[in-house]
Structure formats: structure tokens, C-alpha cells
Symmetry: D2
Subunit: 137 residues, 4 copies
């Protein structure tokens, strides 16, 4: 299974008046994880863009298990989910390194849009088919 | 069914380099919807806080149907989902008023934490039981 | 003097672990004020864009006078600052309506970039010259 | 002169519909720089908090020199500005590492609030006086 791991320092601006990281900011952590996965395995936003596609998020889910406080450090584990369809899917685990607790899990699904027409690609783009083959996915 | 509706102007800062609203910002729109529902039906964050509780989000989901561009106006329809457990659940519809398209749907689940101890309340708090009774939920 | 006024509800996500609005979010309030000014007086982002220009912010300043808490309502007063140069300048006052306190003041300066080449326009664009004339600025 | 340097990857969510980093996000980069300075020289938010103080930003300025695009890497140089008054002041330089351009400069000023009463401290807190002495400021 393809996965990558990245450490993230919490920004003060990411906390809220409950003193913890505001729930919506986890989608930024997932983005960091996804981007890091892309750098590690050659599936970056700009590579995709240069191949002629946008890959907007069409679905996202977050399950919160424990709060994260300012001053704590987290890591995001990003796992690639193989699929036959023209989609990119990831699962995430956010672990609070300071407390060694699992603080959140999540999922995202991306589709391919033609960069110019912004229409949905129903078939797997060639560059992505090759990427999957190279990585046995 | 209890529901409320609020119009929101898109902020330029909420767009991304694809020229559309960044997907994570929909959780802010859901927050706006939830807050507006709270004002309309007497279930505001500060009312809950004054009753001795925090109600953090423990689960959230977004399904994106269509992009929203800067300059467009959206409305968020927030529907209360009745439940026997000690939870607050909402469903959301984000409608692009400018194009009359449904652009996203979503769900959130909140639990009750004791404000002082930050421990989970397994039983429905009395103030919430009364609120549900008043609104036939 | 040209000025406009807009009320804004604070989002919970805009607060930080000190329990008040995070200082950087005032630039979003200034953006709201500027956008509202644009709608009121016909100087909107999209009008400018359609005239062939981007108007990025090249300078911004915020002076904080008093904190704003969640649940409070603010208004932003946006004042146009006349200038002979090819710039758009505004001054802002953020007033806490709930407490009737002035909570922040600020300034922004925008320049004109050609939309295609992204080069700086040193001369006042014709559409802006006409806008200034129409409004005696 | 005390200064520190930190590299930052741009998040996709930090870009806007002009395709560049939204101007307000530089205050997050300044926060990253300030936090890194604090870690390097023992003047962290949590140290200050444990000494009995909040240090809210009361003034901030940003001057933009050049845009930053998604996929580029920046560094923030944070310089401590010595002062006799009960304030913490920093100057910032944001350099685009990818293009080797200076993209922004800025300043912030923080004051000391008593953590409990939230009243302004007019005299330099003892812990800060010692910190300045230790670092010859």
C-alpha cells in the first residue's frame, strides 16, 4: 500500500475559541498530506495540471477522535486507495505526536476535469493509468 | 422538519488558484448555516456554552456537485436531524443562487462536552431535552 | 468623502485560542468592506477585471484598539482616499456594534496590473479616470 | 541583531483566483516566522503564557513586492527590533526561494496583557526584561 507521512506544526491562527484546532482546518492538513504524497510518489498538483487536468475534491469526510491544542505537533499519514474508476482517493490519519493519540481520520475523492473545458473525464487519463501501473495500483 | 436558510456572499479570499471556492471553505458555510439555524430556533453556541457545554464537531462530510465562482451568491439550507442520542446533527444544502444549481450537500455531527472537565456527556443534557420537546423533535 | 458601511457577523472559525478574533482576519473584514464599497459605487472586482485589470493589494496596515469576541457583531466603514497616482486606496474603521467600541483601523493600497501581461500600469486606466470624475474624486 | 529563518511550502488553499497567494495569508507566514524565532531564542507563545501574559498583535503592516505562485517555496526572515517599551516588535522579509525574489516585507507590534485580567501591562514584565538582558537587547 502506498502511503506517506508528514509532520505539521499547528499555527496559532488554526485554533479557535475552544482553545483547540478548528475542525475545518483538518482539510488543510489533508491537503498537506496529499501534497506530500504527491511529491513522494510523483503525483503532484502541477504534474497533473501539466498533463492537462484539474483534480478538484468532490467528496471529503473527517472523523474527529481527540482535540489538538496549540503547541502540539501532528503527523498526517496519507494512504492511496486503489480504484478502477477515473478518481483519486486517499485515506488520512492525523496523529498527535505530542500525546501519541489518533486525533482524526478522513477520506477525500478527486475527479479529473479537462483543464480547458472544465468537463469531467469519465475515462482514466493516460498519464494516470501509467502512474498506477508504475506503482502497481 | 426544522430548517433555516441563509445567503452568503463569497469572499475573494475563499477562492483558490482554480478560480473557484476552495473546497474546505464549505465547512465555514456550514458553520454559517448552523449558526443561523441556532439564532432562528434558540440553539446558539453561546446558549449551549451558558448551559455548561461545548459542542465540538466530531464528524463532517461534504459532497461537491458544482463549483462556485467569485462574484456568485450562495444560500445554505440547514436541516436539523432528530436523534435519540446525545448528539446534534445537521444536513446542509449549498445552492448557487446565481446559477440556481445545487453545488454541495453535507452533514455534521456534534457531541456535548462538559465545559469544565471537557469530558463527553453520554446522556442528553436537560436544556437540550427541553429544546427538542419544545420543537417536537 | 465616499464611504460605505457593512455589518459582519463573526464566524467561530475566525476566533483563536485567546478567545478573540485572530488579528489576521481583519484583512478579510477589510476585503468585505472594500467589496461592499465597490458594489455601492460601481468599483467592483469584476468590473475592474472586465476592464482588463487585476488590482492586487500592495500594502496593508492594521491597528488594533480592542478585541472582538465570538457572538459580537462588527461594522466596517470603508473610506475612499483620493490620489493622483494609478492606485486605489482605502481607510477602514472596524466598530464593535455590540460594545460600541472602535476595535481597529487600517489602510490598503492597490495597484493596476494588466490582466494578460500582469505588468504594472503606471498611468491611471481610462475606466478608473472616468470613475473618479463621476464621483468628483 | 537577533534573527531567524524558516522555509514554508505554499498551501493550495492559500492561493486565490488571481492564481497567487492571497495577500492576507502573509500574516500567517509572519506568525510562522515569529513562532520559529520564539523556538530558536526561547520566547515562545507558551513560555509567555506560562509567565502570565498574552501578547496580542496591536499593529501589523505588509508591503508586497512580488507575487508568489502555488508550487513555489518561500522563506521568512524574522528580525527582533529592540525597544525600551513594554512591547515585542519584529520585522519580516519574505523571500521567494524558487525565484530568489524578495516578495514582501512587514512589521508587527505586540503588547503584554495580564492573562487573567486582560489589562495592558505598561511596564516590561520581569521575564521579558531578563530575556532581553540574556540576549543583549
Amino acid at each position: 500500500m502506498l502511503s506517506s507521512e508528514i509532520e505539521i506544526d499547528i499555527r496559532f491562527s488554526e485554533t479557535d475559541a475552544m482553545g483547540v484546532v478548528w475542525h475545518g482546518n483538518y482539510l488543510k492538513f489533508f491537503e498537506d498530506g496529499r501534497e506530500h504524497f504527491g511529491k513522494t510518489f510523483g503525483l503532484e498538483y502541477l504534474t497533473i495540471f501539466d498533463s492537462g487536468y484539474f483534480t478538484p475534491i468532490v467528496k471529503s469526510e473527517i472523523d474527529h477522535k481527540a482535540p489538538v491544542y496549540y503547541g502540539q505537533v501532528i503527523k498526517v499519514i496519507t494512504r492511496y486507495i486503489a480504484s478502477k474508476s477515473a478518481k483519486i482517493m486517499f485515506e488520512y490519519e492525523v496523529v498527535n505526536i505530542t500525546t501519541n493519540e489518533l486525533c482524526a481520520t478522513g477520506k477525500t475523492m478527486q475527479v479529473f476535469l479537462d483543464r480547458e473545458s472544465r468537463t469531467l473525464e469519465l475515462l482514466t487519463p493516460e498519464f494516470y493509468r501509467q502512474w498506477k501501473e508504475t506503482h502497481n495500483q
